[in-house]
């Protein structure tokens, strides 16, 4: 029996309204604008450390997360800005985090690679390659436990994103095996952008041209989606999420995508050609959806410009907010949040300011 299940994904998904697709378009545009301004802020040394942008991959986070319920846990690796935003973290808290400010989603303690948002069930960016994959199994375990042991009466699924580079980490393979034998509703979503740093997937991963074999090894159904098309991602993911929610077992999804920019802010990119990058840029997910909406009469160029302006305004506000947010105070903040119950020199823990507000309900910018 092959675990690949093309049947399940070729069935038509219920029609997605133009309004929803316009929201996806704006979500993707917001991520793109956020990332462009992130790169700029990094160049201006307002952001430090390692910083990895999501430009080119927007359709993955947006399409996948659109297929989930708001309380389904989501977890990812260090290229996490897109997932945090798509999940509903306001751009100001993500930006302030990267600026190392107290108003950041983790009070400036986590940085670009470690964004978290409890409100939106976003269990974080994780910077050790593969490190989030057993956590994904644990989140799925907890949802199932809550449902069946604690009687929550709600079936949830977990989305665990990973890069193609994480396919080679032992942690993933142990986690996948556990998910299958314990029947955990964790959906591993591989964002296959073809490279882990300078290593192409062909050089780093066995059976790179047929990742269904990885799923088959652990008895998981395998699905694939075109990550340059948010509707295609949604179509596949909606099927997978619904099915795994009802069956309460794991799945493995490969999304074929591409990162337009270097691995991080310092990457000469000698491992790939400019032509290859332009080829993918030509099938840009944002342009593609905008064109489709225009062709369907749901959007015109003016409307597109307005959307553009609105995401620019939002990110500009986010930057302003991040700039105005205070620096953490070593005397108060260095020794807080280390433990939940203060002892010795350790202070108390508290939620970041972000958690004072419901997602989407933020006070006016100053």
């Amino acid at each position: 029996m092959t675990m690949t299940d093309p049947q399940a994904v070729s069935q038509p998904v219920e029609r997605v309204s133009a309004k929803t697709r316009l929201k996806w378009l704006r979500d993707m545009m917001l991520i793109r604008e956020f990332e462009l301004r992130t790169m700029q802020a990094y160049q201006e040394a307002k952001i430090g450390g390692f910083c990895h942008v999501y430009i080119g991959q927007e359709a993955c986070a947006v399409g996948c997360i659109a297929a989930t319920n708001p309380d389904d846990p989501v977890i990812t690796a260090y290229r996490d800005h897109g997932h945090a935003l798509a999940r509903g973290m306001e751009s100001r808290y993500a930006m302030a985090e990267m600026f190392g400010k107290i108003g950041g989603c983790a009070k400036g303690k986590g940085g670009s690679m470690h964004l978290f948002d409890k409100r939106t069930h976003f269990y974080g960016g994780h910077a050790i390659v593969g490190g989030q994959t057993p956590l994904g199994a644990g989140l799925a375990f907890a949802t199932r436990y809550e449902n069946e042991v604690l009687g929550e009466g709600k079936k949830r699924v977990t989305l665990c994103f990973l890069g193609d580079g994480a396919l080679n980490q032992g942690a993933l393979h142990e986690a996948m095996n556990l998910c299958t034998i314990l029947e955990l509703p964790c959906i591993y979503v591989v964002e296959n952008n073809r490279y882990s740093m300078g290593t192409s997937i062909e050089r780093g991963t066995s059976m790179a041209d047929d990742l269904s074999t990885k799923a088959a090894a652990y008895g998981m159904p395998y699905f694939q989606a075109d990550g340059m098309d948010v509707c295609a991602v949604y179509n596949v993911m909606k099927r997978v999420v619904d099915r795994m929610r009802s069956e309460q077992r794991p799945a493995f999804v490969e999304i074929n995508t591409y990162r337009y920019k270097g691995h991080s802010m310092s990457d000469p990119q000698k491992y790939r050609t400019k032509d290859e990058v332009s080829e993918y840029e030509a099938s840009d997910p944002i342009r593609r959806l905008a064109d489709a909406l225009i062709a369907a009469g749901a959007l015109n160029e003016d409307g597109f410009k307005e959307l553009n302006q609105s995401v620019r305004d939002e990110v500009r506000d986010a930057i302003k907010w991040a700039e105005q947010s205070p620096e953490p105070d070593p005397a108060a903040d260095l020794y807080s949040d280390v433990v939940t119950e203060p002892f010795g020199e350790y202070g108390p823990t508290s939620l970041p300011e972000m958690c004072d507000h419901e997602p989407g309900d933020v006070p006016e910018s100053p």
């Binding site: 400036g108 940085g111 032992g170 953490p328």
Partner: protein
């Protein structure tokens, strides 16, 4: 300092590269393996050009599989090869903890002397680049607890080259701790070959008032502090331990006999740290020569924060060292 006659200045990363290159020319059993070491020319350009010279059978790219390739190296070392395994960061070595802590340093003992493990693990260690807590490990405190291994932590290009050559020739596992913050630092390195033995501290600055002991990057903070203190008439002796295992206590104690005061500066977390060990050994061997307790300057006992303000507050720095010296000498 042994580098007195050298005029050539090279970067820390070049010194590391020269050590590996020279040893690979000398001994065909030596090979380099790690993420992005070959085609990418090294994530931090340490191995730049080495693929060209030695080819892909000896400079080997591997995927992100630390547990796998660290263990592979250990297996190869059991057969008598002499692997150099590069961790892009020592933070990632934690993924391979079982291999590097259970297998490498215990193979000889467990096999009753039959199978040694002549391997070098090397990579970046320590915080300072705003990388957040997962990527900011200073592993020396953690790993120094383990018998059977050597821990080398150079602070200058000269020391890095001489110590890495010794590490590659060592018949036991060596953990070689570099710092991304220092890879671009330049220093004098002679053209002629030299090796630096393990367990020989280096006095980086002589002084008679207070002994400063440190390892790796914080040695530079000590030198800065000593410079400033000298302006106030306080002469510190700065001892660079260079290796943590073995630890050259003789040099430290000799200095304390002269100064009677000591501050240990160590970038690991304070609890059970390298500094704790040094202090304990001082008490065991030189209590009578101390006029005050040993002071420690470590990283603060919290996970490394991302924010620059918090990270700087957490790490050892010249200001903290100056304060500790003054406290140790009853000046504050």
């Amino acid at each position: 300092m042994g580098a007195a006659v050298a005029t050539r200045q090279i970067q820390f990363r070049e010194a590391l590269r020269e050590a590996m290159t020279e040893e690979m020319r000398r001994d065909k059993r030596v090979f380099l393996m790690g993420e992005e070491v070959a085609q990418y020319q090294g994530a931090y350009k340490v191995s730049q050009g080495m693929l060209d010279e030695f080819g892909e059978k000896r400079v080997i790219d591997v995927p992100i599989s630390e547990n796998g390739f660290a263990g592979l190296g250990i297996g190869a070392a059991m057969m008598g090869l002499r692997p150099i395994i590069e961790f892009m960061s020592w933070s990632f070595s934690l993924v391979a903890a079982d291999q590097i802590l259970n297998n490498a340093p215990k193979m000889l003992y467990m096999s009753g002397g039959q199978f040694g493990c002549p391997i070098v693990f090397r990579g970046n260690d320590g915080a300072g680049g705003q990388l957040g807590s997962t990527h900011s490990w200073a592993v020396e405190g953690l790993f120094a607890n383990v018998p059977g291994l050597r821990i080398v932590i150079p602070s200058t290009p000269y020391d890095a080259k001489g110590l890495l050559k010794t590490a590659i020739r060592c018949n036991d596992p060596v953990f070689f701790l570099e710092s991304e913050r220092m890879l671009g630092n330049k220093g004098p390195v002679p053209e002629e070959e030299y090796l630096i033995p393990f367990g020989q501290a280096d006095i980086k600055r002589a002084g008679g008032d207070c002994t400063l002991v440190s390892f790796g990057r914080p040695v530079h903070f000590c030198l800065e502090a000593a410079e400033k203190l000298a302006e106030e008439g306080i002469e510190c002796e700065v001892i660079d331990g260079r290796t943590i295992r073995p630890l050259d206590m003789d040099t430290i104690i000799e200095s304390i006999r002269k100064t009677n005061y000591c501050v240990v500066v160590d970038q690991s977390w304070p609890f059970g740290s390298v500094a704790s060990e040094v202090a304990t050994q001082i008490y065991e061997r030189a209590m009578d020569h101390l006029d005050n307790r040993v002071y420690r300057v470590c990283s603060d006992d919290v996970p490394a924060p991302y924010s620059k303000t918090l990270e700087q507050a957490m790490l050892p720095n010249p200001g903290k060292i100056i304060k500790a010296v003054k406290q140790a000498m009853y000046l504050e």
